[in-house]
Structure formats: structure tokens, C-alpha cells
């Protein structure tokens, strides 16, 4: 047993952190936050050049073929830096869907383009409010064309292609759902940007009107593929959330050492110390759960569904907890646009919803634990 990243993986982490510290300063994040650009194109290009976009994509498809543990390492750093790029939608959702279910031609077409930074991808799953469920999918696929509306679609306004969940049956079962790949630059698609909690990662509404689409995976297998995609993305997002939690804690700690009130560093007040200690506790629990998820993801272990749900819940709670208390430690300053605290608060709360809210993952976790106990 060895429950830690390897020295090589830690070196990769240092490399990624150094790169992001240089290329993804809070100032760079703010350019996107302030609406000057929909995402940081320069950073995206740099990430491709570093090989980070294709780190878990096999070499045959233009990636580095390193693996998912390495992707977890990068994800944590992306979260720390609050990177304003479509990383999660492209790399965790679109690429993973293709890796799980794509045919040779689909993989050849899109995966090298993802690794090189030429193609941004996304998953078009949701249709308004609610958690992931076959029942909520109304968009139809018939005779090779899609009709319906998806929202919110993460990074939908800048994506080149989307994996779309569509209804192909009416039996009332999971088998009614199939997946499709759509080149969004072809016709039949109308995209509208939506304002959202975290402008550093855009959201869109996409309307499909007799839009040509290619099946991804077998007909009727859509929901089972989606569940696998969401589980994998849950682990990867958990690492981003862990990175964000750590950074928020660090910001709070630094401010507590810096700021003087009543003639003392505010970090010497026990109420503040204990608040920061509690942030450390939740960040640590989330990190440990995420490590377990990383192991399950990288070995495709039977434990993955349970581990993914646990990582997701724990990391979501930790990031929200650390981000909100970071503002509290900063007092009034923390509530200003000028300070960076709100960027993490926004990201934490947006990420808490993106793969379905806590209630979905709580349900999944308990179902999966029950199954295991019954077995």
C-alpha cells in the first residue's frame, strides 16, 4: 500500500504550479471576470504547449498518455489558480465521454484537437433546473437530427463541439437516453451566453433545430455512459475544489497574520484561529477522500462509483466552507470586488452545482454503499 502521489507526480505538480503562478495571476483571472474576454486564450494555448490538456489522453490520440493520477495533479493546480479556461468541460467531460464511448474515427477527430488546444468541448446535459436524471431530458433525436434546448451548458458559447444527451425512446427507463456528438460549427445550432455565478467559466443556452448529430456509443446506452462520465468528472472536479479550498485557506491565514485589530494580529484571536482550523479540517478530509477517488479512477476499480460520490460531496463542502470563511476572515475587505476572495466564493458555489447538486451525489453515495453492503 502507498497512499500518496509519486515523486514524479509531485514534480509535475510543482511544474504546473510554477506555470500557473506565472501565467494565471489573479490579474489574468480578472480580465475574464470583468468580461474582457470569454476565457483566457493565451493560458489555454500555454496549457496545450505544456501538455496539460492531453495529459490523460493516450499517445495514439495526440496526448501525453500519462494517466488520470497526473490529470488529478493538474486539476488541483487549476483549482488553486482559479484558471479561467474551459478545462473541466473539455478535459473532464467531453474528452472522458469520447474515451469511454467514442469510436476510432470520433476519437481521431476530437482527441488530438483537444490535446493541442484547437478544440473546446463540452457536455450538453441539463435542461433547466434539476439534478442529472433521464427523466429531465426532453431534447429528442430522430432520423439523425436533434431538436430541443440545453441549458446551462458549461462553456457552451466557446465550445467547438458538444456531447449531447438526447431522448430516443419513451419506455420510461434509462435506456431511453442516447448520446450524440455535435460539431457546433455546423448548422442547426443557436448559442446564447447566460450570465452566471462565476463569469470566469461561462454558461450558455444551446438550441438545436434539426441539427445533424453522430451517435456516441450504442443507442440506449447514453445514461450508463453519462453516469460513468459524471463519476470520473466528480473525482477530477474534486481535485479542483481541493486546490481551491487550499488556496482560500492560505489567503485567510495570510490575512489573519497581516491584519492588526485591537493592537493584535487578528490571527491571535481564538475565534479566528478556530475558524481557520476548521477550514483546514474540511480541506484535509476532502483531500483524503479525493486521493481515494484518484486511486479508484486511475485503476478503474469497482470502488470508483462510491469513491467518486464521496470525493464530490466532501470536496464540494470543503470548497464552499473555505471560500465563505475566507471572506469572513477578511472582514469588509473580503466583500470588495478588489479583493480576490469573491472569485473563489463564486467558483466554489458554481462548481457545487455543475455536475448536479449535493442532493444528487448524496443519493448516489447512499445507493452505492447499500449495494456494496448487500453484496
Amino acid at each position: 500500500m502507498n497512499f500518496d502521489f509519486s515523486d514524479d507526480q509531485k514534480q509535475l505538480r510543482d511544474q504546473a504550479r510554477k506555470f500557473l503562478t506565472e501565467k494565471c495571476s489573479p490579474k489574468a483571472v480578472r480580465a475574464v471576470l470583468d468580461g474582457k474576454a470569454p476565457y483566457d486564450k493565451e493560458l489555454w494555448k500555454g496549457l496545450a504547449e505544456m501538455g496539460f490538456l492531453g495529459v490523460a489522453i493516450p499517445e495514439d490520440f495526440g496526448g501525453a498518455g500519462a494517466g488520470h493520477l497526473e490529470l488529478c495533479v493538474i486539476a488541483e493546480e487549476m483549482g488553486r489558480a482559479n484558471a479561467p479556461v474551459p478545462f473541466s468541460s473539455t478535459v473532464y467531460l467531453a474528452a472522458e465521454a469520447l474515451l469511454i464511448a467514442g469510436n476510432e474515427a470520433q476519437k481521431k477527430k476530437w482527441l488530438p484537437a483537444i490535446a493541442s488546444g484547437e478544440a473546446i468541448g463540452t457536455l450538453a446535459l441539463f435542461e433547466g433546473k434539476g439534478n442529472p436524471s433521464p427523466k429531465t431530458i426532453k431534447l429528442t433525436a430522430a432520423n439523425g437530427v436533434l431538436n430541443g434546448v440545453k441549458k446551462p451548458v458549461a462553456d457552451g458559447a466557446i465550445a467547438d463541439f458538444a456531447v449531447v444527451a438526447a431522448r430516443t425512446g419513451s419506455s420510461g427507463r434509462d435506456g431511453d437516453i442516447s448520446l450524440f456528438v455535435v460539431d457546433l460549427k455546423d448548422g442547426g445550432v443557436e448559442v446564447k451566453s447566460l450570465t452566471n455565478l462565476d463569469p470566469t467559466r461561462g454558461q450558455a443556452e444551446i438550441t438545436f433545430r434539426d441539427c445533424k448529430a453522430e451517435p456516441l456509443g450504442a443507442a440506449g446506452e447514453g445514461w450508463s455512459i453519462l453516469t460513468q462520465v459524471l463519476d470520473r468528472a466528480a473525482v477530477l472536479c474534486a481535485f479542483e475544489q481541493v486546490g481551491g479550498s487550499d488556496r482560500a485557506l492560505e489567503m485567510g491565514r495570510d490575512y489573519a497574520l497581516d491584519r492588526i485589530a485591537f493592537g493584535r494580529q487578528i490571527g491571535s484571536f481564538q475565534a479566528v484561529k478556530h475558524m481557520l482550523a476548521d477550514m483546514y479540517v474540511s480541506a484535509t478530509l476532502a483531500r483524503s477522500n479525493s486521493y481515494y477517488g484518484a486511486w479508484a479512477l486511475s485503476t478503474n476499480a469497482a470502488e470508483l462509483p462510491e469513491a467518486a460520490a464521496a470525493a464530490r460531496i466532501s470536496a464540494t463542502q470543503a470548497f464552499q466552507h473555505c471560500a465563505k470563511n475566507n471572506i469572513q476572515v477578511h472582514g469588509g475587505m473580503g466583500f470588495t470586488w478588489e479583493f480576490d476572495c469573491h472569485m473563489y466564493y463564486r467558483r466554489a458555489n458554481a462548481m457545487a452545482l455543475g455536475l448536479g447538486s449535493l442532493s444528487y451525489w448524496e443519493d448516489q453515495l447512499i445507493d452505492r454503499m447499500r449495494k456494496k453492503n448487500a453484496a
Binding site: S268, K273, S288, N289, A294, W295, S314
Partner: protein, 414 residues
């Protein structure tokens, strides 16, 4: 990152499993499995006798205190082998709770500070459970502020003469030996005037008075010292260096991380899986699920945090203060879990003991839980440790730090 056993680990596991299978006191397995915090009792046997017999059997076959050196009664095992042993020992591991203070705190302190001949004489019978040890630190005026203790040790020839009182001493009533923190110099600031000893609990002048706890049980005691003589060779560390020695004790408590902390979660999950509410099985209720999921990730987070610590240990890194989170999280969790289990029982939850639901398992847990948040350092002290030693925040303001101990104003129960 790898969870699978290496070939050597797998071999160790197989050997341990075979030995446990052939030797464990199986007649108590079911009772031990159904016990939880506050409720490790056996119906037809004295638990201390059963625990001692199992420990002795393990020691004779080389399975006691696995990570201790062989010459002191251990096996010289790696931290990971210790975890594998705990996994295989399963419910029988509950029995070693009786020895946790001796094995986790007193033994390692002896190993670090006792003379070689004492280590060879005292440690093997401690490892084998033949002799039980207790830790005599806390006093009425020195709990969280343990350096505020008043028990005096005065030099008289080759002996030290002890006078004073300890309190909350777990297991003192059945202990053979103890490690004892005393004040040897009241004229210097409080941390500088302390000295550590070990002593025979049967020494003349030692009087143990059991205290009845909030839970109704009597696991801890008051211990009075009247002119108790301890020979100087039983001193641990230098005169005046007792504070550092006690820090070693507490550091070692942290490396006892392998010992899985009890959270109450498996008990609650099992309960909710079988419990029927008005609308159906409890576990299918949305609100119940949300609660369970919340605790599930705390329990797994703790489990994997300790695995990370063990991985660090096995690479030769020292466990740091970050391991303080185990008790901090588990302590209030077990209290909340017990409260919730009773809430699910509604008005019936008020009944405790044998006639209660699950023979009063959660009621016993509820009544024992407050102690968990206090013993070995309160939640507040744990948070201070994390804030100061992990996050590097300033220490609390200490008005008595540089004042000679005998000039510190006193008020309250001390």
C-alpha cells in the same frame, strides 16, 4: 498511489489471518462486534480478564505491540503491517482498548527516556498486557493547562517524595504502574519546573478513588499521593525537563494513528438500513440520506487521512500535528450520530439499557461521547494545535508564561 498489498504485505496478512482464525476468543466475537463507544462489555465474563488473556496469547506468539522493537516485547513491524494486523484483528481489537494508554503513551515515553535495564524489565510485561499502565498528568488545577499542575516532588537522598493529587486518571484502579508528571521547582516559570517519573501504583501512600462518570461508569479516578517515595533512577528525562518529556508522550499519541478512530458511522448506517419509518425503510428517506452521506464522507475522510499519515510514516516521515484532526472530527461526530440515532427512535429513544432498541447501543454512545471531546485534549485545544502548529498562527496570549509558578495568582477549584 496503490491500495493493493505488496507480495510481502499479502504474505503478512495471510499469516496474521491464519493465526487470528486459530487463536482469537471467538465466543465473544458477536458481542464485541455489536459493541460501540461506551458499550464494550461482555455479559458472562470480565472484559479485563478476557482482554488480558488475548493480549498474552498474542504476546507469546509475537503479535503484541507490533511496531515495538522485539527486545521490548514487540515484533519490529512496519506501520503498514500494523494496519494490516488491525484490519485482520477486527472486533477483537476492541479488547486492546484496555491497554491503549499504556501501549500508546506510557510505553513510547519509557522507550524514549527510561534506562535500558528498565526498558527491558518493564516494557515486555506492558506489551503482553500482564501489567497495565496509566498516565498521571491531569490535576484539578491542571487539565488543558497541564503545566499548571501542583503535585510536588521533593528530593530526599536518592529518592523523591511525592505529595499531591491527580484526577481523571483512566484505569488507575486496575493499573500496576503509571507515568507521573510533577512539579520539582515552583520558583521558576511553570513549564520549566516540571519533572517526569514512573512509579509502582502499589507504592505506599498512593490512594486511588474511582470517580463516577456522567455516563454512570467508573473508568477514571482521583489519585492521591501522600509521601510516596520514588527512587531517582525512575526519573524520565532530566530534572526540570518534564514538559518536554510530556510533549514526547503526546507526540507519540499522534503516531498511534493506526488505531482506527470510532465515529459511530458504521453503526448508524447499519441501523438505518434495517429501521422502518412510517413511510418505509429509513435509508430511503431523503432527509436520512442527506445526513448519512454527510457523515459517510467524514468517516471516509478520516480513514484516508490516517492512511496518508501511515504512508508518510512508512517512508520515514514523522507524523505531524495535522493528525490532531482525527479526534477532533470523530469526537463531535460520534456525539451527533448518537443524537440522531435516538431522534430516529422518537419517544422510544429515551429508554436506555438492555430493554432499549439495539440493547441501548446508541444511548450508551450518547452518554460516553462528551468524554471523547475532552480526554486527551479538548476540541478547543485541538483547534489551537492545528491553528498554531499547522497553520502557523500566533499562540494564545499567556499572561503566566514568564512568571515564577509560585507567583501566579490562583482562584477557582485549584
Amino acid at each position: 498511489m496503490n491500495f493493493d498489498d505488496t507480495p510481502q504485505e499479502a504474505e503478512f496478512r495471510a499469516t496474521a489471518r491464519a493465526w487470528i482464525g486459530a487463536n482469537a476468543p471467538k465466543q465473544y466475537e458477536d458481542e464485541l462486534r455489536k459493541s460501540s463507544l461506551g458499550r464494550t462489555q461482555l455479559k458472562n465474563a470480565n472484559i479485563l480478564d478476557v482482554a488480558k488473556a488475548w493480549q498474552k496469547k498474542k504476546a507469546d506468539a509475537g503479535w503484541a505491540c507490533l511496531h515495538w522493537p522485539k527486545e521490548y516485547g514487540g515484533r519490529g513491524s512496519s506501520p503498514i503491517e500494523r494496519v494490516i494486523w488491525q484490519q485482520e484483528e477486527g472486533p477483537f481489537g476492541q479488547l486492546s482498548r484496555m491497554f491503549i494508554i499504556g501501549h500508546g503513551m506510557c510505553g513510547p515515553t519509557m522507550m524514549a527516556f527510561a534506562r535500558e535495564e528498565h526498558k527491558r524489565a518493564y516494557l515486555p510485561p506492558l506489551a503482553s498486557g500482564e501489567k497495565v499502565w496509566c498516565q498521571l498528568f491531569s490535576e484539578p488545577a491542571g487539565g488543558s493547562d497541564v503545566a499548571g499542575l501542583r503535585t510536588r516532588a521533593e528530593k530526599d537522598g536518592d529518592d523523591w517524595v511525592i505529595n499531591g493529587q491527580k484526577i481523571w486518571t483512566s484505569g488507575a484502579h486496575y493499573s500496576d504502574y503509571g507515568i507521573l508528571l510533577t512539579r520539582t521547582d515552583p520558583t521558576v516559570p511553570k513549564h520549566k519546573g516540571l519533572t517526569m517519573f514512573f512509579l509502582d501504583m502499589k507504592s505506599p501512600g498512593v490512594e486511588v478513588r474511582p470517580i463516577k462518570q456522567a455516563s454512570g461508569a467508573s473508568d477514571f479516578n482521583e489519585v492521591y499521593f501522600t509521601n510516596v517515595r520514588i527512587p531517582d533512577h525512575q526519573r524520565l528525562g532530566e530534572v526540570g525537563d518534564g514538559w518536554n518529556v510530556s510533549l514526547t508522550t503526546l507526540m507519540n499519541e499522534r503516531s498511534a494513528i493506526g488505531a482506527a478512530v470510532s465515529t459511530g458511522f458504521p453503526e448508524l448506517f447499519e441501523y438505518c438500513s434495517s429501521l422502518m419509518l412510517d413511510g418505509g425503510p429509513a435509508i430511503e428517506d431523503r432527509a436520512v440520506r442527506a445526513k448519512l452521506a454527510n457523515w459517510a464522507v467524514k468517516a471516509s475522510g478520516l480513514k484516508y487521512t490516517s492512511m496518508r499519515a501511515i504512508s508518510a510514516l512508512s517512508k520515514g516521515e514523522r507524523p505531524g500535528p495535522e493528525n490532531s484532526i482525527g479526534k477532533l472530527v470523530a469526537g463531535s461526530m460520534i456525539q451527533d450520530v448518537a443524537t440522531y440515532a435516538l431522534d430516529l427512535q422518537g419517544a422510544g429513544g429515551v429508554v436506555s439499557g438492555e430493554n432499549a432498541e439495539l440493547a441501548g447501543r446508541f444511548q450508551a454512545m450518547l452518554l460516553r461521547a462528551p468524554g471523547t471531546r475532552v480526554e486527551g485534549g479538548t476540541d478547543e485545544i485541538m483547534r489551537n494545535i492545528i491553528a498554531e502548529r499547522v497553520l502557523g498562527l500566533p499562540g494564545d496570549i499567556r499572561v503566566d508564561k514568564d512568571v515564577p509558578f509560585n507567583k501566579i495568582p490562583t482562584k477557582g477549584r485549584g
